[in-house]
Symmetry: none
Subunit: 193 residues, 4 copies
DNA sequence: TATGAATGAGCCTTCATTCAT
DNA sequence: GATGAATGAAGGCTCATTCAT
């Protein structure tokens, strides 16, 4: 008789959006962005194809929304880092935190590395990715300064490459990769014996 | 009109194949595998579209052939490594050699990283990639043993991740990445002071 | 919440219908029938998309209703024609009246010409359009008889084509078309010097 | 063995293009531009859908090509007009020529009137249509001057509207419209008694 | 050997319409 | 009476591949 209340509508919308985002994340990560069709996503999400276009600006808009949501999640995860007075402890937290975030958002990281190596697609995301890596470089350099390393810029590059390389190897074989042992060793390398 | 000799035919064949492989490598690396069309490759190579199917098993076969050729090139590059008695020197050579190979075959590495993060495509290449990384891991572990590091398996993972991470960062920004400084620092890390 | 009276309901209904018809007329005329979406109409009318289907038989039903309403308006406009004893004066009134109606209902005429040249759509309107033009032809022929023209059927065709052609040219460029001058000249042609 | 000769290829291309243009003209005219699908055109032409895109810039490009081809045909038809010293004779030729062209290219004129009343589509054709009608107006005005009519601009509008109105009525009912009788009467009106 | 015209499956997207509330 | 989330058929278009020459 009377139309749905605003609250009902909002719930419906959020449910549908979330289902689409979840399905898209899983499929993009598993099959790749280009090979994932809009049909697959809608089917996986259990909605009609057309619905996607009510909420996102096409397939690419869905990818963008996915990055926004996931980057927000990641940012929140990092925000929890405790503020220890010892810079070595802070760095250790950062490193371990990175791998914890990686583990918790495996699909997103897989997608992220996929997109980074996919010329046309990465550009569709605008400057977001570039800003992100710039921020990581800056943060790592601050850490290097704090722990008193000489040539902190190069050291930051090295730690960045190390974390990134490990993350990628883990993402490619999460079942078998010895992430904990590697993480321990990296932390030991930077926080002394 | 007049029948060509076998030698002429062979030369024609090899010329056409090489042109196609070169164009494919450049375009796959620059535009991504999925976004590169067969038409683009043929046009860039200056041959008709159909010719590709005379020599390769479609677009994916072309990619496979590309990997075979490039991996042969890379293997040859590494084969030149001198055989120094000092294991630290040998490791230093290996590391510097890796980055030298990277520089010389930028497009191939770009494509390689691209494909590695592209689920469906990577599988199309069969076990080649997996064997390759396994070989690298084994070689690095041998180096770690030779220089007497404890826990050589984990150390090998770390050096692999480091070289891979640096390579990838370089590949993404070859113009600005401080590859030499980073390489020097890595060599220093592993060959003492 | 509190039950509405019948009168209130009727007012609501009529308001919504009128808003939809007005929006549809403007948009169909401006954008064309096929390129106007139901969403555009509902948005322009400030109602929900679904409401349209409460009152009309879909998009095509809306078009039909629009024609019915507008043709009623037009018929009323013509009904006001005075009944002068001089057939020449009556014809002059008819001609001038036609252009006056055209000016007052520009959007409708634009839509009307649009639909007339749109095969599938015109048929959807049923025999209405055909009857209408038949009526015009008949009326014009009566005028031709009344002013004593030989071969009144052909003369009626000519005047019909003339009025129709002028109307269409005016509708295509209402800002610049010299409608008054043309109308004067036509009246002069038929009512003698 | 050897590839097709250039001549063979050209013949194939022209055949396909002509088939597509012919089918498109017939279908656009009969069903309307929007309601004609690319699938329908290809099927009617007896080729695969994709072929259309080898030769035309999509559906709209096909329409443009159609207008170019048809307008060239029409221009050629008019170019044959004899150059009589008597301006009345020249005008009579022009009027009769218009209707002859109309008869010979019925589908095109139907499409042309259809497109003229279809806002978005007409714009897609660029300034072509506008230039065309401007040229017609100018030519008619020259005729009016030549036969010594006062107020030639208004007279040109009237003759233009008349020809256009007749043409359109004929196009809508080519089977029954008394085109010859109407044409005779119009010529009589302008060339005296 | 080489060409390029032709194919058609499958993609992303739009939009009239339905229906639970 | 009114809402707007949801549907899904159908549209235009791309592109890997085939094949007659």
């Amino acid at each position: 008789m009377s139309p749905r209340t605003d609250k009902q509508n909002r719930a419906l919308r959020e449910e549908s959006q979330a289902r689409l985002l979840d399905s898209a994340l899983r499929l993009f990560a598993r099959e790749g962005y280009e090979r994932t069709t809009v049909r697959m996503i809608a089917e996986d999400a259990g909605v009609a194809q057309g619905l996607l276009y009510n909420y996102f600006d096409g397939k690419e808009g869905l990818l963008r929304a996915l990055f926004e949501r996931s980057m927000r999640d990641v940012a929140e995860s990092f925000a929890l880092a405790e503020d220890d007075p010892d810079p070595r402890v802070r760095l250790a937290h950062y490193i371990r935190g990175s791998f914890a975030v990686l583990r918790r958002n495996l699909s997103f990281w897989r997608l992220s590395y996929h997109v980074r190596m996919q010329p046309g697609v990465a550009e569709g995301l605008g400057p977001k990715l570039a800003e992100w890596t710039a921020a990581i470089r800056a943060e790592l350099e601050r850490h290097m300064v704090a722990i008193g390393r000489p040539d902190p810029a190069v050291e930051a590059e090295i730690l960045f490459a190390l974390i990134d390389g490990v993350s990628q190897h883990y993402v490619l074989e999460p079942e078998t990769y010895p992430l904990d042992a590697v993480a321990d060793r990296i932390v030991a390398l930077y926080t002394g014996e």
